[in-house]
Subunit: 411 residues, 2 copies
Amino acid sequence: MKKNVLIIGAGGVAQVVAHKCAQHNDILGDLHIASRTRAKCDAIIASVHEKGAMKVPGTFQAHAVNAMDTAAVADLIRQTGVQIVINVGSAFVNKYVLDACIETGVAYIDTAIHEEPDRICEAPPWYGNYEWKKRDLCAEKGVTAILGAGFDPGVVNAYVRFAADEYLDSVTSVDIVDINAGSHGKYFATNFDPEINFREFTGTVYSWQGGKWQENKMFEVGREWDLPVVGKQKAYLSGHDEVHSLSANYPDADIRFWMGFGDHYINVFTVLKNLGLLSEQPVKTAEGQEVIPLKVVKAVLPDPASLAPGYTGKTCIGDFVKGTKDGKEAEVFVYNVADHKEAYEEVGSQGISYTAGVPPVAAALLIAQGTWDVKKMANVEELPARPFLELLGRIGLPSRVVTPEGEDKPI
Amino acid sequence: MKKNVLIIGAGGVAQVVAHKCAQHNDILGDLHIASRTRAKCDAIIASVHEKGAMKVPGTFQAHAVNAMDTAAVADLIRQTGVQIVINVGSAFVNKYVLDACIETGVAYIDTAIHEEPDRICEAPPWYGNYEWKKRDLCAEKGVTAILGAGFDPGVVNAYVRFAADEYLDSVTSVDIVDINAGSHGKYFATNFDPEINFREFTGTVYSWQGGKWQENKMFEVGREWDLPVVGKQKAYLSGHDEVHSLSANYPDADIRFWMGFGDHYINVFTVLKNLGLLSEQPVKTAEGQEVIPLKVVKAVLPDPASLAPGYTGKTCIGDFVKGTKDGKEAEVFVYNVADHKEAYEEVGSQGISYTAGVPPVAAALLIAQGTWDVKKMANVEELPARPFLELLGRIGLPSRVVTPEGEDKPI
């Protein structure tokens, strides 16, 4: 039984994680949050108290830390006595926070693959470049490290495991479809860190098909999907973390990720990309200043957290999982629908942050309760799916399944 | 009789100015060119010699100077013994170079209004903010300062004076139309310094109508024009320097400037502007670096000079001048057609640089010969137009006029 949680990061997702941890502090114990800017942590804690989110009286403390300084993070872990770290900082800090958890022997949870600032879309599988290199060390030291435990990656990985466990004998293909049919009312904004968002789309789109990596460009392959609640939506084959672990765990299945985009998003993206403004490589201005264009684009775009108050509409994220059952072809669709306004009313965040922030708290609760305290490194599809999905349903992210027989029912 | 010329600046327009000065160094005497980066000046002089452009054997020297340092520019003027300065540096340096010419008593020519880096589209008339404040001083010291002597402003101002001198008793409206029907083959590029280019379009569009300033937004007012050679083209009411002097010299006439834009340009511009990437005000990145977005956009766009080798097609810039003649309404259209490829073959520059760079050399020749050595500050429409337009025709920029009777003939 582990308890006491340190949240790394203070963006939109961290806001959700903080509220959800507070709502379950009877189980999770003392809460701490740390980021480069302590004032951001203070603001999040203030919003938690404003909503009266703490289930029982308890500790919630803010700290300043440079999360790329492993020793500083390890010191903070020791000093606060936490046994679980939920890392929802920038993807650039992941490997340093993971190292701090391994060093101190505490559980680690993140929601995205580590990235190096000056590299995009490295060789697949992406987990092999940083995280999986620490797999043996985690097993040796008995450290629980749950990788990619947001919604996608995260819940969508559990959907595959759930479909395989309960409906299929074998899996032949997985199509993960992520549609945000909400509206933020701004000219243009990304739903999470613009830097990370655009980095996903500027490089090669990797999918796993026919037992090998297939390479495409962004917006090269598009397809209309008909989904519950949000209806018919166009989505494009995109690169995404979960493809890189699901392809290792289900090597015989085709694994594809599809992200929905409107024409306006594609136009803005195309202009910025073609001009070179999404580059992670520095350019020099006429005055001799070295600047990374993508960081300037990030600076002028709305802070994703600022979108929350006016955001309306729904998201639908789900997995079409095909395979065989009793020798016949069968298909299962597992999905969640979330509402931007409801998310804002509950935790002060928009729906994309909500769907990303609730799952790592569910993971923390499962570690605290022992169910997922596996004392090794694991991707979500390697862990029991039903307890995770049922718990998510109870704490705000209910999933449903359309069975091979066509019945649409809650999990 | 003045001679010996110093060119300030080393961009695409300076390249044209250098070649044209060299072609007339029998009249202009010693030539000098100075910019922040001396290597750029060396490259221009090398291209002059490569084309064998020097009419007679003579001096052409490169210098490094910070053109925003009036004392340094004045020192260079004294040291080189020049009597004419052609300033085609950034619009940010104009007032400093003008001051250096006043201090040393030499003739000054520029092609654009002075701008302060952190301000766009100041109160009209723009010339009143910086240049015209030195009008009395120039008259007092007998300094010839020709403002805005490029194509637009410049030749288009002379077109108004020409129409008024030779065809009209009074001027009631001037519509200046600038169409570039050429193709550079890049995804996107501006034809001159992107920073100056975009700054023209991000603020208020001032036009002079009904005896007062009218304010519009860019791309708010569009109209199709049917022009010689380039045909029917859509152009938009835009802010431009010449409106601010012509309105003072022809206060009873409506003065409008129309710039042609394709849908693709407008889309890219709209995306960049709406995102805030064309702002001249600094933003701070997440890492705390202060950056001016517009300077980063400039850094990622092609150098306008680099467009020259592949540029094809033609430009048409002309003035529709309406008024009265012998009590009846009359219209004159005065225009030039230039060819990108021919410009490149002659001086190694594209057509936009060519049309901007030849006129200030014509102005320098007219000063050298005394015709325009007026020993005061003047905008181009305040000077005799016919000698300027005839000289331009002889040195590479022939103009034509469509008379009130509909005859299309050379000037």
